[in-house]
């Protein structure tokens, strides 16, 4: 069951709509934001779930990058 934290980088300022869209993605937990960076943790039943979520976040208009920081799989 993998858990990965990523910092989501956005091109413009973080607005409520963008933050909401990210927070509403299943398996995503938003822990906070600073400037144009949002700290999220993605949980999945398998690593495929994590990859799907990362891809979904990357496709959101205004997202310029997704940078993993910590990744663990503790099956």
């Amino acid at each position: 069951m993998p858990v990965t934290s990523v910092v989501v980088e956005v091109i413009e300022g973080v607005n409520e709509d963008l933050l909401g869209r990210i927070a509403r993605i299943p398996r995503v937990n938003v822990f906070g934001m600073k400037g144009q960076q949002i700290v999220t943790v993605i949980e999945g039943d398998n690593v495929r779930d994590v990859e799907d979520v990362v891809r979904t976040i990357l496709e959101i208009e205004g997202v310029i990058g997704v940078y993993p920081v910590y990744s663990g799989d503790y099956e």
Binding site: M1, V3, T4, S5, V6, V7, E9, I11, N29, F31, G32, M33, K34, G35, Q36, Q37, V39, T40, V41, E43, V47, R48, V50, E51, V54, R55, I64, G65, V66, Y67, P68, V69, Y70, S71, G72, D73, Y74
Partner: protein, 770 residues
Amino acid sequence: MKMTRRQLLKYSAAVAAASAIGLDIALPKELMGAEADVEKWVKGVCRYCGAGCGVYAGVKGGKVVAVKGDKDNWNKGFLCLKGNFLPAIMTSPDRAKYPLLRKGNDFVKISWKEAMDLMVDKFAAAYTADPQSVAFYGSGQAYTEESYFMNKVFKGGLGTNNIDGNPRLCMASAAVGYVSTFGKDEPMGAYDDMYHADCFFIVGSNMAEAHPVIFRIVNEQKKRGAKIIMVDPRKTLSAKIADLHMSFTPGTDLAILNAMAHVIVKENLYSKEYVEKYTVFKTMTDPGPPPKIEKTDWNGYVKFLEDYSPEAAEKISGCPKEDIIKAAHLFVKSKATMSFWCMGLNQRTRGVWVNNMMHNLHLLTGQINRPGATSFSLTGQPNACGGVRDGGLLSHLLPYGRLIANEKDREDMEKFWGVPAGRIQPKPGPTAVEMFRDFGTGKIKAMWIACTNPGQSLPNVDAYRKGMESNNTFLVVSEAYHPTKTSELADLVLPAALWVEKDGTYGQSERRYQYVEKAINPPAEARPDLDVMIEFANKLFKKLDLEHEAKKLFAYKNSEDVWNEIRLCSKGTAYDFMGMTRARMKKAHGIQWPCPTEDHPGTLRRYTAKHGDPLVKKFDPKAEDVSFYGAKGDGNRATIWLRPHKGPAEPPDAEYPFALTTGRQIEHWHTGTMTLKVPELKRSAPTAYVEINPRDAAKLGVKSKDKVKITSRRGSIVLEAKVMDVPRDGLVFVPMHYPDKMINSLTNDAFDALSKQPEYKICAVKLEKA
């Protein structure tokens, strides 16, 4: 309430990410002081690109189960998508586990003793018949200790310069560019310069996908007002943040760079003081070989630039003159300008020239030698700098700034290695493409390839694959995986330890050397390459009745023994990292050379005494601050080169009307031997495609997902189309990563006359709907 294991992990992950951006987050009190659930964290470096991100591998039960970024290293804890999935590359079912011998079309498992005996016999027989018929092809992914050792075996031991490495294919032009401009190789600046730059001039580099963690920092600077100029014939992901995106006909960027210099000179924006104090001017009057170089002067340079007005450059390149003028103004008028470039400039038949021209702009304007102002070439592989460029593995080099062609340098190394005078051959050996041609003709009879995949990565690859599968030669491949497009051609496959299954040193783009600690054992009978290399060298020399030499040359017990010799080899040179003991490296988060003593902290910026380079005063005692002390022959001055525009070797024409360029995607790295083993990355980016812009697609009658046949003078391939407004008209892009769709069957093996680096970035193709 007690934390569940999952909650603990979730909050640990959140804390790691939050601390990376300096954010405090509220934590449940149960988490305070809790540790993540691994047995140990082992410090190392990411296995992938030349950015060299610090990472920790989390180990449990003899496996790497987790990874996190090193928040005390330059990357501040950040990783990219590929780095995030590092644990998965270690346990692929394709791991090579046993030595394998080819029998017809099959491979059979043999013992290490059988493998080593065969290899020694074959190399000894070839060497005895002709000492110049054995060769080694190394890698910018091997540890420094491995590359140094093989360099010593071949050049110092066997007396052959038939040793080259895959950085010939990616960084040779950058290396020759630095040497010809500044006297010595490698960037003088550091990643720290990004935090001080007000303008970024980024040419031929899709940083967002090729060096994502560095790109993240550039993007951060944009938020504080830095301007971004992106010069690329594709509107890449990186170009999304550009304040000015300059598109141009592929191969015409030389005209643009000269035109920027023209504007700077004509409008009197250059730094007269800097040019007069720190530069000389040179031009090539005859290409040779060898090239004939003559000194010239400021007036000669100004006259030369007259042909490169912005109007003239627009006619050549298609880049609007207004953009050229704007770029020149931003470059010179910003408080500090930092340039980045990568393969878009290096993988060209004029790669050295265009590297020189990037440095020219900094020298002309004084945008150099201070925080934020520097010309910084990005490196593709994790140890192309440390192991191959610095360590001197390329066929024309000796370690740490020494040259094969220089008699004194050869004498120095012969004395250092304790080999007879005259042992090191005076003529540089064949370079990568030449070496594989020689292997194909049988001039080279026995070759050992380690840690790289030329059966997929060479340009015009099919021509060289034929030679590699010949029955008249003997090919050994050391690899962590089998099959690869190279190991499938081998006579003997040796299973290799991968990443943290062995220890060693990596040196990345900003002169930072970092120690990678061993965390776990390799699978089955796979072994660290250095162990195999030491055993081979000792047994080969015994077979050649040179056991007495082997006892002196190859008596290492471990990688630290080799590292200690390497440090000594650097002592007194312009690289001098004698102070980087293994003990220090184990504790540090990398140290930047020069670092001449154990109490020296390392050098952030070279060539300036004011910013801490300890070698300025040593090599140029009269210098007040700046000294290019590697350029003694030019009075410690850098060279501004007069380089004319010259297009690619194979531009589009009536028969092949498109330009093909190749490059990277964010999900994959190099030839995909590692990243394509990660199911998630493979699922995200499973195969190659051809990127075509909508206007060209409409003329061809092609939509996205249609099959398109792409043909060059060397081969053809059928790929699915992706119609996107990314490449400019007349240009198509194909990613390089896929063994089932090898785009290098089409690329051109023409190479730069000075660096011998091939022109992967431009060749002529035609397209038709398949």
